[in-house]
Symmetry: C2
Subunit: 216 residues, 2 copies
DNA sequence: TTGTTTACAAACGTATTCGTATGTAACAGC
DNA sequence: GCTGTTACATACGAATACGTTTGTAAACAA
């Protein structure tokens, strides 16, 4: 009726992306559970019919949204095991800084991670999303542990590779959480290097602040 | 009908507490938004009438629940400014360890904090809860910054008191998050001291591992 | 003893929300 | 040019969920 109703493949894809982008905004503002598909449809200029055509239901829609920015685990391993010219933990350090920088520079990543951490309830209906999330966390910790366990790495006495890995992950998650909750809290991009270097100095006996001279 | 229906003051209070305890379990399992007051009522052995008698609505019920374990800000300041026999940051360190230990030892605290961090959406309806939460965070950071800014504290070059405070808070939140998400991830009580000491070693030039000898 | 208040239960009415089922206009292939 | 399929809009039905109102037995006060 109201629309010209010409629906080519490209149009359909555009509709799908509009729905995803609109849902992103609404989920971010109102929370996932507090956003109905009717609201998403209206704000997208379509009806629920369109949403149910493109997605099975709300949780599948959310999963598709998360998949847009979810890092693939194999990329992580590949990234960390690349050869490093300086310290064996240089890759891990750089990754940390990159993650924080990527968050500052990419609004979509920021929005979706905010939804994941602050605007959604991990319940049965999202159990597969939670599971993959947990898997990713465990893999991050396992890979970090490998890095810290490298024989060239000299941990402080009393610090095991596993403990170092978990402390690193906790710090990462905490910084993301704090930063997402209050964007004005600190300048992620500028201060992340100092923070990670401080952390590494606490974990290692021989960490030289490598941020500005040795790498890149 | 079914109940003897004798309702003294004590009975009413018991009903109220039952509702709170039941809601705690259901919120924890299913998330706040995905739990209806009808479900809470049934699991409590009452009707919604009882819930609406004791609480205005679901968000007020949640707020009352949070108030059961919310630390009062003035306690925090008092705690941190107590005289310390050893290092000026000893109080901050001990507080960190205590928080993690309290979490391990107190199921109610653990449940409610889990609800707050993982099972609830911060939306308009919970805006006052969120506001107080944010206020508490900012106060924690401000107080920590004061501690780190103490003249007897020797921060590493490149580390400001504010940065140290924010890194500490991020690490605390991250450890709580990780631990609540996966209770088997690490032994909070046993490993927290090593973690905080590692962090402080990275922030300060003169931090001696003080966990086992210096402080009572 | 009687009236009032407490502490709920039960009933009411409305508004969403979901999933599905059906209708339909335009495109794509032949 | 006809047909099947795509990409939706519309309609349907059932199930909550919420907040309020009303009913009521027991406690409590006088």
């Amino acid at each position: 009726m109201q629309n010209a109703m010409r629906r080519t493949k490209a149009d359909a894809e555009k509709t799908r992306e509009t729905i995803l982008a609109t849902a992103e905004q609404l989920f971010l503002r109102n929370g996932v559970a507090h956003t109905s598909l009717e609201q998403v449809a209206r704000a997208s200029g379509v009806t629920r019919g369109a949403i149910y055509w493109h997605f099975q239901n709300k949780s599948h829609l959310l999963n598709e949204m998360l998949n847009q920015v979810r890092p693939r685990p194999e990329k992580l391993a590949e990234r960390l095991n690349a050869p490093t010219a300086t310290h064996p933990l240089q890759n891990l350090r750089d990754l940390f800084v990159e993650i924080m920088a990527g968050l500052a520079g990419n609004e979509q990543k920021r929005n979706i991670l905010t939804i994941l951490l602050l605007r959604c309830e991990f319940t049965d209906e999202l159990s597969d999303a939670e599971e993959r999330h947990t898997d990713f966390i465990n893999q991050f910790i396992a890979l970090s542990e490998e890095q810290f366990g490298c024989e060239r790495v000299r941990l402080r006495p009393g610090i095991s590779a596993r403990l170092a890995a978990r402390l690193l992950h906790a710090t990462l998650i905490g910084m993301l959480s704090d930063r997402l909750r209050d964007p004005a809290l600190f300048d992620t991009q500028a201060e992340a290097p100092a923070m990670i270097d401080a952390l590494f100095s606490g974990l290692l006996v021989d960490w030289q602040i490598a941020g500005h001279g040795a790498s890149a």
